[in-house]
């Protein structure tokens, strides 16, 4: 082999060793990202809803929705947004809560929270976190009063049955500049009912 060809052969070997390291790393990253994407759907849910309210229809009410996020993957994720519709069930309406007409009649608010990457909530690998979101119901305006009338629907035991529909969580990865991805959250219905606290 010619002297220059020998030099090229050594450079070729070094480049191949570098390429092999990159190949292994990029494949590990891809597997980890896919693992998070698959696992996050099972690791997300609504953990609780509570009402900060006096129970008086003329007072402002705050509903706090807590989402639990368990990252089963091997890389950290950033929660960058949550979308959902907040409803208060009217238990005297016999229709299924997720019946389209009833969803329309019980909707209190459509909540959409979005954050930048810098503001995103980091959930490290194997970690669980709670992400809270608030819904305000403020009477005193025609729209606010209409909302409050839908909100103030207790059952016989003075318990309220909030529920969520079309809930989605948006996430990305802390270590990788990937586009935001969405994961659907299973419908949540507060069966036992919530007593307002406030």
């Amino acid at each position: 082999m010619h002297g220059i060809a020998r030099v090229l052969a050594v450079a070729y070997l070094i480049l191949a060793a570098f390429a092999a390291a990159v190949y292994v790393q990029i494949t590990a990253n891809y597997v980890n990202v896919a693992g998070v994407q698959e696992g996050l759907e099972r690791g997300i849910g609504v953990s609780s809803v509570w009402l900060n309210w006096t129970g008086n229809a003329s007072d402002r009410a705050i509903a706090v929705v807590n989402f639990s996020v368990h990252n089963v993957g091997n890389v950290a994720v950033l929660i960058v947004g949550i979308d959902y519709e907040f409803h208060m069930d009217n238990v005297y309406d016999p229709r299924d809560p997720y019946h389209l007409d009833k969803l329309e009649a019980t909707r209190i608010a459509y909540i959409s929270i979005s954050m930048t990457r810098a503001e995103g909530i980091e959930v490290r690998a194997g970690e669980s976190r709670t992400v809270s979101s608030t819904v305000f119901v403020v009477p005193g305006t025609p729209e606010g009063d209409e909302r409050m009338s839908r909100f103030d629907r207790p059952d016989d035991l003075q318990r309220y049955h909030p529920y969520l529909s079309r809930a989605r969580l948006f996430y990305t990865f802390a270590a990788f500049e990937l586009p935001y991805a969405a994961v659907y959250i299973a419908p949540f219905y507060e069966t036992e009912g919530v007593v307002p606290d406030g």
């Binding site: 082999m1 010619h2 220059i4 060809a5 090229l8 052969a9 450079a11 070729y12 070997l13 480049l15 191949a16 390429a19 092999a20 990159v22 190949y23 790393q25 990029i26 494949t27 990253n29 891809y30 597997v31 990202v33 896919a34 693992g35 698959e38 990788f176 500049e177 990937l178």
Partner: protein, 182 residues
């Protein structure tokens, strides 16, 4: 094992080694260019990277195979691309192999389109690069063995020319009436 057999095995081992290393380079840079967000090292424009790396790797491969026939160099370029495509396919299906993602139709369609794209892009570039590298290596960087063979060939050709020139001279020296007579 006789010497010729050992040489043949070594020769094919080297060809396969160079092609596999070339495939690693081409495959890794292809993935770095197309999956930049997953890459540990940022690279530039994907098209430019794929064009340059495939041609460059093919070229070096051609130079390294200067001792071989040009057909072998072209075949090595094809083999490099094929192995690179296999590496890219292994990467794309790695979540399936790891048992994380089910191999559903959408996943297969995405992976198949990426594999097809890589095949179309890599094959011609690697082959052209290896043929050019082989040609340039042959012209400017011949190995000592090839140089010796060329020198021997030139020497033999020179001897033939001299022998022919002697025959011609002898024929010219002979009187014209004796020419052509047994």
């Amino acid at each position: 094992m006789d010497d010729a057999r050992r040489r043949r095995i070594r020769r094919w081992f080297l060809i396969l080694l160079w092609t596999f290393l070339g495939a690693l380079i081409v495959g890794a840079f292809f993935l770095m260019a197309f999956f930049q967000s997953l890459s540990p090292i940022p690279v530039g424009e994907p098209g430019a990277i794929i064009l340059f790396v495939s041609l460059f790797t093919g070229f070096i491969l051609g130079v390294l195979l200067t001792d071989e026939e040009i057909v072998v160099a072209a075949g090595a370029g094809v083999l490099t691309s094929a192995e690179a495509v296999v590496l890219i396919a292994a990467f794309l299906f790695s979540p399936v192999f790891a048992g994380i993602v089910p191999a559903d139709r959408a996943f297969a369609a995405f992976s198949a389109s990426q594999i097809l794209l890589s095949t179309v892009l890599l094959f011609p570039l690697s082959v052209v690069g290896s043929v050019i590298g082989r040609g340039i290596g042959d012209s400017f960087l011949p190995s000592p063995r090839i140089r010796q063979e060329l020198e021997a060939l030139r020497e033999e050709t020179r001897r033939w020319h001299e022998a022919l020139a002697q025959i011609e001279r002898r024929q010219e020296d002979e009187p014209p009436e004796t020419r052509g007579k047994g």
